[in-house]
Symmetry: C2
Subunit: 240 residues, 2 copies
DNA sequence: CGCTAATCTCGTACCACGTACGAGAATAGT
DNA sequence: ACTATTCTCGTACGTGGTACGAGATTAGCG
């Protein structure tokens, strides 16, 4: 199905990967589907973390033999790309555009944040060297580009802004998840606090000491995200 | 040396990891050093990518037996953390502060970008679930906090800004590296171009089609980085 | 209606990886 | 010297990705 020639070294031909849904005329009928396999992998990653996604476990979830997966994705890296595009489908349909590009851009970022919170492995997955724009990702990108139409940015600049917003959301959500994980295990949190206190007390980090000595703000991650997003989008405003 | 009790599940106690350089009084002398091992791992990652960093290859580079590494780092994850902090040492000494916090913040981001370009595995490594603030990272964080002193931001907000700037640099550099990798293999680049052209021609992605139809800007990654950084930092200005 | 080529299924097997275990070697204090 | 401590590292186990290839199923063709 996809097992074909991967055009040489490194990556899979995107056309081969994304847009050949036409059934081949001859040969045995597929017993599974790329969608089902991808969904199983996503469920596994959501429930037990990205490290739980192994070919063996995905196969057993689907009820397939391990090697059967390779009829639907040429290797595990590709399966990860399929996972990213699969969950990106949850971003459709997006909120309708208002014409206020700043507000629309903020809505886009909030949607991305919600998606990443549902799939905590996503922020890191977006940093894989091998990435690919699947149909769902492309649909959302199209939406983001439309949101930026009122601006005077050229095509390349719009793409950069989209990458920037996505990266912003990924960074903030990654921090948010790490913070939550820390809070979830008291021992770990206490060790971290002890360590930072020791560093702050060594006299070589006065700024850090002051930053940590301030009372912990009662702000929710939501509020932090919204505040920084506002600052960022307003900053983008300044340019042509 | 570090092999001790890792405080239970998940992570290593930061105090155990970073601040016990005092030589134990009894026992065999170490034949290697954490620094040498970490440096070898970094060299390997720089030369052949992060996947080339295996315990076996690092050990052979250092001239040690594989299991000897475990006297210096309790597991591979920790070795990766050591690598991150190791290269962060290249950020010292930073440019002296000017008092203009916007300019200082931009200088910080540029230094981070240069670092990430030297170590292409770094952007992705910053998204690992287990992270830790080593001495070099802390020194640079201290510098960044000092740069933000002229602002009225509270401690938490300053930390967020630092995370934001780091994430910004990581995102842009990751894009830059991906672009360079694509350009480096003509076949891959051509396949990607063909795919995007096909998508643009399907009529369902007018905005994307327009963005791609525009002439390719002759801008260097440096200029792009500087421009977006300006926008971002100016945006941060708006707040308290 | 066989025949053939294409496609999918999946058991077996290989190799690389992280690392637990434990025996041996070196060192410092008694 | 003796002993406790610390480091070194060969061996071995379990797990992971995936190459290989034999068998099963299908569609078109004569």
């Amino acid at each position: 199905m996809v097992r074909g020639d991967g055009s040489g070294a490194g990556g899979v031909d995107p056309q081969q990967l994304w847009l050949n849904s036409d059934r081949p005329r001859k040969g045995r009928k597929p017993a599974f589907s790329r969608t089902a396999i991808t969904a199983a992998a996503v469920a596994l990653a959501d429930a037990e973390g990205i490290d739980a996604v192994t070919m063996r476990r995905v196969a057993s979830q689907v009820g397939a033999g391990v090697m059967s997966l390779y009829s639907y994705a040429p290797d595990k890296e590709t399966l990860l790309q399929l996972m990213v595009d699969h969950v990106s489908g949850e971003l459709s349909p997006p909120d309708p555009l208002t014409g206020d590009w700043r507000a629309d851009l903020k809505a886009i970022a909030h949607a991305q944040r919600a998606l990443m919170l549902r799939h905590p492995w996503l922020p890191a997955a977006l940093f894989n060297r091998r990435w690919s724009l699947g149909p769902n990702t492309l649909a959302f990108l199209e939406h983001a580009l439309a949101a930026l139409r009122p601006t005077a940015l050229d095509g390349g600049a719009k793409l950069e802004v989209f990458s920037l917003i996505t990266g912003f959301a990924a960074r903030l959500v990654a921090d948010e998840i790490a913070q939550a994980a820390l809070s979830a295990s008291p021992g770990q949190a206490a060790a971290e606090a002890r360590y930072l206190a020791a560093v702050a007390a060594d006299g070589h980090h006065p700024e850090l000491a002051e930053a940590l000595s301030a009372p912990v703000r009662p702000l929710t991650p939501d509020a932090t995200f919204a505040r920084l997003l506002d600052r960022m989008v307003d900053g983008l405003d300044a340019g042509s």
